[in-house]
């Protein structure tokens, strides 16, 4: 009682204390948010506009319409591209999570001759830019007959050096006692990895899942080169072909782009929760 009245009087008389540093920080954050958000907002807004309104600056369309969406799904192959992207990105993500963490765990927790060498060799692959790899990939895919297939789109990303590195670092942080305890409990090494070590690194797995999915969802250059059958295009490749086809039908291009961002949002929302829970788990001592 007394406490409550206390705070109200103080609130009235003094007002909230605002630090100047806070103001600067908030202003910068707000500016950043605006700069990041404005294009997105226009993208979404434009997708609900009629063509005559596209070059006006209003955010809320005068006459909101879903015509662009129906058009895209009825008259283009956007639906198929969407499925292609979803399929390839998800499969690559699953593969990366599985293999990168398996390799990372082995490098972190098993002592064998040449362990450091293998690790460094994997690290060096991080220093080669994708652009340099495209040609070898292409030659490889062509000779194996992988062009114009899902496998052709996916194979370069199935294991990543970055993921191996990330997972190795996280697995190194797990006390050996967990592994010893599981060994005494009678698990085999694969079960120890899967049932004990993997749950302990969920934050890293979530982060890796987000990176990998987004990276593959937005990948452009390689899918463009690996496919020339329009039925195998991924969303970014398909969207790019839009701008040639519709020239400046911005409302259609923006509709495609809006649809393209949806899965990234969903993935982030799903895994973000795991990231936070994972951080809580990681902070646990026992």
């Amino acid at each position: 009682m007394t406490h409550a009245s206390d705070t109200t009087t103080r609130g009235w008389s003094l007002g909230p204390v605002i630090h100047p540093g806070r103001i600067v920080a908030w202003t910068l954050l707000a500016l950043g948010a605006v700069v990041m958000m404005v294009p997105l907002v226009y993208m979404v807004a434009t997708s609900f506009k009629y063509p005559n309104e596209v070059y006006e600056l209003n955010i809320i369309p005068h006459e909101p319409t879903l015509d662009n969406y129906t058009y895209i799904f009825q008259n283009t192959r956007f639906g198929i591209w969407f499925v292609n992207s979803l399929l390839t990105s998800s499969l690559v993500t699953v593969s990366v999570l599985f293999f990168d963490s398996l390799v990372g765990y082995t490098l972190a927790k098993f002592k064998f001759r040449g362990r450091e060498f293998v690790f460094i060799a994997i690290l060096t692959t991080l220093m080669i830019p994708t652009e340099m790899l495209i040609v070898p990939w292409y030659i490889m895919a062509k000779n194996f007959g992988w062009l114009n297939s899902y496998w052709g789109i996916m194979f370069p990303g199935l294991i990543t050096g970055f993921g191996v590195f990330l997972m190795r670092q996280f697995f190194s942080g797990i006390p050996d006692d967990y592994i010893h305890a599981a060994r005494i409990d009678g698990l085999n090494e694969f079960q120890i990895w899967w049932k004990v070590a993997m749950p302990l690194v969920t934050p890293a797995l979530s982060a890796l899942a987000i990176f990998t999915f987004l990276g593959n969802w937005t990948a452009f250059l390689w899918p463009l080169i690996a496919t020339n059958d329009r039925a195998l295009y991924t969303v970014p490749v398909g969207l790019a072909s839009f701008s040639g086809e519709f020239l400046s039908d911005w409302e259609l291009i923006m509709t495609g782009a809006t649809l393209a961002t949806l899965p990234t949002l969903i993935v982030f929302i799903i895994f973000q929760r795991y990231i936070i829970r994972g951080v809580v788990l990681a902070g646990l001592k026992g």
């Binding site: 010893h180 005494i184 009678g186 749950p199 969920t202 788990l281």
Partner: protein, 367 residues
């Protein structure tokens, strides 16, 4: 239950030998504590018993079976770790049941075992919680529960209490002792806390630099330490250990703390010292009684005089650090006597309770 035997057990990492040939016979149902300073190879030895670490040479047998090449899970042992190693993503129940699930026991058998263990350890109410919702002591109990349900023939503990605060540590110590009394399984327990070793052990194994320094009951190692190392390691406060000159004249001999402060020695002690002119003397602080200087004036013989450096009242007694000649000695005074720094005091000790060591080898002088 089973006896456990280590024969010439050696462990090398690369070229570095960490454990230099350990021999140890542990009887069925015995509670053996390995103590020693950090890095002396206690955990390594324990992990070799568990099968988590291979032997470089030697044999380990449990019962009549040599287990050198057996997997940890086939050795019928259970281990409790220093940081408990509870799986944070599982409930207490699942943590305790984990090994039983892995062994593919039927569900109702698992359920029964887990509940029995939980009851024994007072965890029945906590089975659905996660480890991060438990206190340190409770986590410790879960770790023990996980070990108990496996019905092991040998329990291995690696510093299980070192993450707990002092009060809880005392409490859990009692609980571990009670547990041992009720299930009677052989226990090998590693600690670097000598109080834990003294209170828990049937036998203490004192290790130093990968070797066994002494094996004995707590009272053995306390009253008859084989070396200055053991003498200094066991017992609190730490034993006073000082090298002193022996003055022999005729049949009589004295220990010289300073020019004035000399302690006459009995013929028995003189015989043990032999012809040495120096000896390392160990005096337990509890054997060194400190009194006001004037009160002891008329006492004869075994009396030293010194000045107080620090006096720490402990309630029943006062721990006094006093300077005698060039030496600082820790002794005990009555709790009501708390002298000021610099005050003169008298130090009395029973010569029969002195520990004597060779100043070169640091080994005990045989009685």
């Amino acid at each position: 239950m089973a006896e456990l035997t280590l024969k010439n057990v050696v462990k090398r990492y690369g070229n570095i030998e960490i454990v230099h040939g350990i021999n140890l016979d542990i009887k069925d149902g015995e509670f053996v504590v390995l103590v020693g300073p950090s890095g002396c190879g206690k955990s390594t030895t324990l992990r070799m018993i568990a099968g988590l670490e291979s032997l470089s040479s030697g044999t380990i047998s449990i019962g009549d079976r040599v287990v050198n090449t057996l997997e940890p899970k086939d050795r019928n042992i259970a281990m409790v770790f220093q940081n408990y190693a509870l799986y944070p993503h599982m409930t207490v129940f699942r943590n305790i049941a984990f090994g039983l699930h892995a062994a593919k026991l039927p569900k109702d058998a698992i359920d029964k075992k887990v509940r029995e263990a939980a009851k024994l350890l007072g965890l029945s109410e906590l089975l659905e919680r996660r480890p991060n919702e438990l206190s340190g002591g409770q986590r410790q109990r879960v770790a023990m529960g996980r070990a108990i349900v496996r019905d092991p023939t040998v329990f291995l503990f690696d510093e299980p209490l070192s993450n707990l605060d002092a009060q809880l540590r005392g409490q859990m110590r009692t609980e571990i002792k009670r547990l041992h009394q009720s299930i009677g399984t052989t226990i090998v327990y590693v600690t670097h806390d000598q109080v834990e070793a003294m209170t828990l052990a049937d036998r203490i194994v004192i290790m130093r630099d990968g070797r066994i320094e002494q094996v004995g009951t707590p009272l053995d190692v306390f009253h008859a330490p084989v070396s200055t190392f053991v003498a200094g390691f066991i017992g609190t406060p730490t034993m006073n250990l000082i090298a002193l000159p022996v003055r022999q004249s005729g049949g009589n001999a004295t220990l010289a703390f300073s020019d004035q402060d000399v302690l006459p020695l009995s013929t028995e002690v003189v015989r043990r010292i032999g012809n040495r002119d120096r000896v390392t003397v160990g005096i337990r602080p509890d054997d060194l009684v400190i009194t006001p200087a004037d009160a002891a004036r008329e006492r004869q013989g075994t009396r030293l005089e010194g000045t107080v450096v620090v006096a720490e009242p402990l309630g029943v007694t006062t721990q006094v650090i006093a300077r005698v000649g060039d030496h600082e000695l820790v002794g005990m005074a009555d709790g009501r006597f708390v002298p000021q720094a610099g005050a003169p005091v008298a130090l009395t000790c029973d010569v029969a309770r002195l520990h004597l060591f060779d100043p070169e080898t640091q080994r005990s002088l045989a009685s």
